[in-house]
Amino acid sequence: MYYVRPETVAEVLEAGEKPGMLYLAGGTDLILKLRRQEVQARGLVDLQAVAELRRIRVEGDRLEIGAMVSFADLLNNDQVATEARALWLACRSMGAPQIRNQATLGGNLANCSPAADSLPALLVLQAQVRLLSHSGETLVPLAELLERTPLWPSGTLLAGFRLPLTGGASGFAKLGRRQALAIARLSAAVALREENGRASGVRLAFGAAGKRAFLSADLAEKLNGLVLDGGFTEVACREARKVISRALGERASAPYKREAVAGVVREALASVEFMKSGEGA
């Protein structure tokens, strides 16, 4: 195996598109996989020296987050804390300080574990994903990308995420640490706005319920327009139960998660800034 550390995106792509090369971000997933020989690599292309992949910045009405931004960077960023609350809460729930210092947002998507914590949050925040290859740049909504297997052709570089700044509120909650058995893990993210006392623009996404994180269009439809009173959370919990039931089907984890989801959704809603006062929750 050999190791290279290019400094520009062009050099990264040139190295990464050669057969057998893997991109290396923080390494918190990849290094273990290499050691366990779950993946083989002829060489590693370390992305740490490409400055533009490490930036978080507001551009007009959107937030641009580079793929190499670490979870600690996100947690320390005021814009993320206010404008992308669900993502900030997901980062806070993740791993230990040592892992947050090293693990990147790009690696979380690229590794694409069913329980990747950032994905439900990025879904409700309507993230678009910037992909680069020799044929140019493409921008794909995350929800659409997560339907593809593999996520992208090998050699493709995930450059970053684009989040529209909608001014809406969002929240996130999860059950079970990473070491917990898969059956005991579940996460939910929510985004919504209040308009004349009613919910609008509602989005709910789940993680660790099935192969990949997903947005529930059904739930959004059921919840949009409902009055934001105590009953709102109850309807959300009840409907979420049906969604999880359908998503998990006959899986062994279905009976447990069907019950657990109400608590997770309740907590995710309670973490939304304007729902905290108690009137909504």
Binding site: Y2, L24, G27, I31, L32, L44, D46, Q98, I99, Q102
Partner: protein
């Protein structure tokens, strides 16, 4: 491959294999055996070192990734003659039993106090949450960090 890094303030040039972990290089090539290998999977924090001011688990970092960076291990903090305030506090609080987790604990505490000299209880608990201890039950460790915060103030 050749890497250049600073370890405990000393510039080092080393010939390493690309698959070698920082942990292996510290222990086997530099004989800095204060850095421990517990789980080898990022979960226990026994292998914690400080890289450019931030704690990382050296079992999850390739030596190649550390090329060009500054690493502090427990050997860089103090010695029997002159203990670092965090080390002193750990001894005074009786926060060391078998000692296996201690180097990682001390480095997590140091990184916290360097960044915020007056941490609250909650902040201390979060900063130490990536370091597991099988012996002490954590109370004494958390108290030791609080004590060190007092020491560092002076």
């Amino acid at each position: 491959m050749k890497i250049e890094l600073t370890v405990n303030g000393v510039a080092r040039i080393l010939e390493v294999e690309p698959e070698e972990r920082l942990l292996d290089v510290l222990r086997e090539r530099l004989h800095l055996t204060g850095t421990k290998e517990g789980c080898g999977e990022g979960e226990c924090g026994a292998c914690t070192v400080i890289m450019d001011g931030k704690t990382v688990n050296s079992c999850m970092v390739l030596a190649a990734q550390a090329d060009g960076h500054a690493v502090t291990t427990i050997e860089g903090l103090g010695n029997r003659g002159s203990l670092h305030p965090v080390q002193k506090a750990f001894l005074e609080e009786g926060a060391v039993q078998c000692g296996f987790c201690t180097p990682g604990m001390v480095l997590s505490a140091k990184a916290l106090l360097d960044r915020s000299p007056h941490p609250g209880k909650e902040q201390i608990a979060v900063a130490m949450s990536g370091n597991l201890c099988r012996c002490t039950g954590y109370d004494k460790i958390l108290r030791a960090v609080e004590r060190a915060a007092g020491e560092v103030k002076e």
